[in-house]
Every structure is written in C-alpha cells, then in structure tokens.
Symmetry: C2
Subunit: 364 residues, 2 copies
C-alpha cells in the first residue's frame, strides 16, 4: 500500500531509520562490552523486541507485569521487570510467568522482595532480582549509604530469589549536554560510593543495569555498568532531538495527520490531538508545542484538544488547506505509540508493514 | 467482588454518584426545554450511552468516526459527529454508517461538506449537517460575519445533505466562574450577531448545539440553543472541580493505585503514571499536580513518569507504606479513561460492574 492509502491519524515508522538506530546502539554496546537490554515500553511489540534481540540484545526490559506477559507470549525468553511489583495477584502471575520464561525483577523494598520470595517458593521457581538504588533522580531506589547494606543482605538471603546485582536509572533528561555530563559525573560518584560499600560488605554485583536513551552513548563512562536499558532510541522523538541525543534525521517516527479545518485565521486544525500524540510536553526544549511539523519547523503545534491538534501558522513556510496531509514528530514517542492499537512501517511512500501495539493498556 | 480483590491500577466509578450526575443534568435540561446529547468521549462505552438515553438524552455526540461506529454497533440510533471529518476513506465509512443509524456531522468548510455530499449521494443516503461557528474559542468554526453567510447557503444547497442548524463550542475552561460568566456573555453576543445575519438571509436554524461540562448549567442563559453536549459531567474530575462546575462529592471517578516504593525520603511512588492518568494538566486550578489523593489533599502528585506516580508527602496527613492502596482523582477523566481497556463500577467496597472502553483507540 502507498502512504496515500492510509487513513489518518496514523503513526508511521521509517523502517530504514529505525534499523539504523537499532544497529548503532547495538554496535556501540558491543564495542564497549555492554549488554543491551532495550526497554520495550516504546513500541510494546514482541516482533520488534525479537528484532532487537536478533541484533544482539540480551533480552528486554519492561515496566509492567502485563507487558512482560505479552513479551513472553511473543517468545521473548529473558525479561527484566524494572518495577517494584507489589500485591498477591501480581506475585501469583509473576511466579506463573517465571515457569515459562526468565523474568528478573528490580525492587527497592523488603516488602516487595518478601512477597516475590514467598510466591516464587510456593510456585517452585527461582526469580532473579536486582536491587534498585537512587543515584540522583529521586524517583525510586534505596538511598546510597551504609544503612542500605543490611537490607540488601536480607533481600539477597530470601528464599527462591537469585540476587544478581544492581539497577540504577541515570535518566536525567536535560536540554544541555554539558549539564547532563556534569550530572552523570555526580551519579557516577554516587555509584562508586555504593560499590565501595558493597565491596566492604563482601556483596558482589555481577549485573549493574543502567542508562536511558538520553544517556545511552555515555554508558561507557559509567565504568562498572554491565547493561544498557535504553528504549526510545529505536524511534527517537522531539525530546531526544531536543536534548541532542539524536538528530532530526535519526527520528524514525511521525504522525500522519490531515488538516480538517482552516476556518480560524492564522490557524489550522489537524485530526490528531492528545488522544493521538499524548499531552507530554517538550521537556528537553523550550517547552513550547506538541510536535515538530516535518518540513515546516516554523509552524507551532500550539496545543492539543482531545482529537484536534491546533497549529499556529504565524511563522509557517507553507499554506495549509483542508485535506492537506502533514507529518508531525511527537514530543514523546512512548506515550504517543501507547495511544494506538497499531503503527505502520514505511519506506519512502510505501507502507511495508504493520505492528500491533500488543502491550498497550497493560497497566497492571 | 470486593474492591480488595481488584488489581491496581484500576479506574473506579462510583455508580451512585454517576447516576446522580446523570439525573441532575437530565433534569436541568428537561426543566429548561433543552435537548441533552452527551459527548461519549468521556466513557466511550455504548451501555453508558444507552443509560444516558434512557435518562432522556436525545442521542450522543462523538468526536471521531470510529467512535460513531462503536456507538452504532452498540445500538445508538442518533449520533452527532461533532468533527469536520475529511477524506475518501472516512466519507465512504460515513455513508455506510448512515445506512444503519442517524449520523449527523458538524463541519466548517465547503471541502468537507462537498466530500460528504458526494459520498452520501453515491451511497443513496442523506446526512444531516450542522455548520460550526467560532464564538470565541478559536479552535474550529467559521468566523461570525457576513462573509460566512454565502458559504452556509452553498453548504445547505449541496445534494444529499440535510442542513439542520448550527454548532458552537462555548467550552472556556476557566478557574473563575465570574470570568466564565463574562466570557459566556461575549459568546452570547457573538451568537446573537450570527442569528441576526442568518435571519436577514432567511436561513433557519432549528438546531443550535452548544455547551460543555464547565458551562452545562449555564446553558439556559444561551437563549437560542436547543442542545447541550456536555461529556465529562457523567464522572467529573479534578478539572471540573477546579472550575467549580462540580463539588468533590460529585466526582464519581478515581484511580485505585498501590504504593510500590517509599525508598526516597519524603516521597512515595504509586503504580500509575502518565500511561494510567494521562499527562493532562490541572488546567482549572493552580496547574500543580496530576491528581487529588482522596482523603489526603495535602499530598501532591508531583509528576508522572510513564508507569509511576510520584507523590510528595511534605504536607501529607497520613503515612504511606509499600502496599498501601490510595484512590486518586485524575485531572482529566476523558484522557484517563482513554488509557484503559475497562473501568469498574463500584458501590462502597463492592465492585458491581465492569465497562469496556469500547471506543478507546478509535482515533480515525
């Protein structure tokens, strides 16, 4: 099918750009002796996960147990659930999942570890775990300090758990690469402090899982990390471009949309709003706008109502007529893809494939 | 099932509050001789649409053709597509839909009207249309002025279209009810100007479709409108509370979530983030936070990563431990529900029903 035959709004992925993105990070990780474990929250599709594995990834990362189940159903055999999964219902599902695939879990509390341990033992499985530490993001993870060491020891001793090492999230999403480097240095020092404490206590850390797309190509500067968990890099988006983690030419994703109204002077409305793009902001830039209009960067996607995207044309370099089609790079591709049941692979003007967003809605 | 048996995150709807919300607006519309045509973007479920109709609604409003198809499949017989639907693929689907249900369309361009006209004629159907005018929102709609009159005349004369009247969207979402009243007065004057122009041209307007949840109970102040298109009122949310269009006790919706991490001092993470709540802001309030924690309004849902909600506890009135459950009212319920495949009806601690978000993902 030609692109013209596709209805709008539709999420497009340029297959060649995507392939280059996958190859580039896979090659970087090989060169630096790092394992690549892509976060599949970006595409939520097992075939794309399989492609990442064929290109050398050791497995995948997910954020929710439901995503893990979809990946296991799709034949993925090594899954890291980078989430402190809590509750009887989920622990039962986790133990069931562990019977058919390798599922490891990152956690930062004794409560979560004990729950998983109990259900793993009852289910007759062992579950590998990573202990999460906070190197500066203040989201999750134990604070780095000697108080944490006895807790790690207790977790590592729990029955039916296989302690594997550490997980950190150096995901600072800053506009300025220099500032990002400085923060990375701070996080690195935090990590060194932690490793010293673990060394003193005789606790090993065969795995240190880290990184994110903005910091992916800085991963080798974390001397001790073993694993890179970037997700967005497969497609990139306006935010990864904004923080100079990718160039415009590396962005594989866009939303194909149609101009549906030009009645309001100086404006045009397209047929995708927050339920097509998500409301995620341009965090890595000036905060203005909800997308980059390909070929017309002066046009601002000023705001999104639920099903309309409102373009301000004051600095447009082209005319917009009802029925015109545009392609818009979303601010945050993970949130955008999550709005859709399927996305389309294109090569020039040809629609060459279609992927289901299989784990969309797997919030539990 | 008891609420305890439900996994998290889950969207809960208090059935009694919802019923009261439905009854209140239905009663108001009856009292003021207004037709109620609820916008179903909020719940996207045909059973709830049927319930609204049983309570007196004349039909429903949708924003996308895909939503209209789901509603028609669910037995809804009178649907307003309040969207300038454009393109050959959609016009074919629209004509097909018109063969099995009453589907009217609001539009604001000759291009859209001509496309619908052509496909309606080819499909052997007639399609009722409303012409959209802009009374101040600057989103869509013809500017009010004499230039628009010949266009309305041309649209009304197109074959296979049944011109029904006007659609406006006085949806100003302001914090301050006084300011909203003032704006409503401005919009009212705009509408009067339009009606004078139409009267002069001898163009009738049997239908004037208008309103939104924030302005729902002001609808009678628009003397000429015939139809109220509120959507959010069925559940309400933090934004409708913020703009005093509802009280906290009128809010039927909350997200049931579990505390999954308390490792970071002064904070707690819950198991729902932007892929559970949406990233929609607190537009009608101070802009701070992504939800109202029921029973603990001092706690701030500071920000949302994709699968974590980050609570700041500086002003919390309770302790948060890993495993605790909380209920959080989302900023924008329409965007929140759109993240989920199903939502749960509750009465006190009982889960009494479940609704599929059937039209979720119907972006086209």
């Amino acid at each position: 099918m030609k692109l013209d035959g596709l209805d709008t709004p539709s999420v497009l992925v340029d297959v060649d750009i995507m392939t280059a993105n996958l190859d580039r990070l896979a090659s970087y990780c090989r060169d630096h002796g790092l394992n690549l474990r892509p976060h599949v929250k970006t595409h939520k599709n097992p075939e794309l996960a399989q492609l990442q594995i064929r290109k050398g990834a050791v497995g995948v990362t997910v954020a929710k147990l439901g995503e893990a189940e979809v990946m296991a159903d799709g034949g993925i055999e090594d899954i890291l659930l980078a989430y402190p999964v809590y509750g009887e219902i989920k622990w039962k599902r986790l133990a069931a999942l562990a019977r058919r695939t390798r599922i490891s879990v990152a956690l930062d509390s004794l409560e979560v570890a004990q729950g998983i341990s109990r259900h793993a033992r009852e289910g007759g499985v062992r579950i590998p775990i990573l202990v999460e530490f906070d190197t500066g993001m203040r989201r999750c993870g134990f604070a780095i300090g000697k108080e944490a060491i006895p807790v790690v020891e207790r977790i590592a001793e729990l029955p039916a758990l296989d302690y594997q090492g550490l997980l950190i999230y150096p995901g600072h999403f800053l506009k300025d690469p220099e500032r990002r480097k400085q923060l990375l240095a701070v996080e690195n020092r935090q990590l060194s402090t932690l490793l010293d404490l673990l060394n003193d206590a005789g606790i090993p850390y065969p795995v240190i899982s880290a990184s994110s797309t903005p910091t992916a190509y800085m991963s080798h500067q974390f001397k001790n990390i073993t694993e890179v968990r970037a997700g967005t890099y497969i497609f990139n988006d306006r935010n990864t471009i904004g923080c100079q983690a990718a160039d415009l030419k590396d962005c594989a994703v866009s939303v194909l949309a149609t101009v549906v109204s030009t009645s309001v002077p100086g404006k045009a409305a397209i047929d995708g709003g927050s339920k097509t793009f998500s409301s995620d902001k341009f965090l890595s830039g000036d905060g203005v706008g909800f997308g980059h209009v390909i070929g017309d960067p002066g046009t601002v996607v000023e705001y999104l109502s639920e099903e309309h995207g409102h373009l301000v044309l004051a600095n447009a370099s082209r005319q917009y007529r009802v029925g015109d089609r545009v392609r818009v790079i979303p601010n945050h591709v993970c949130a955008c893809v999550n709005m859709h049941d399927r996305i389309y692979g294109i090569r020039d003007d040809d629609v060459v494939t279609e992927w289901q967003v299989s784990a969309r809605g797997a919030v539990q």
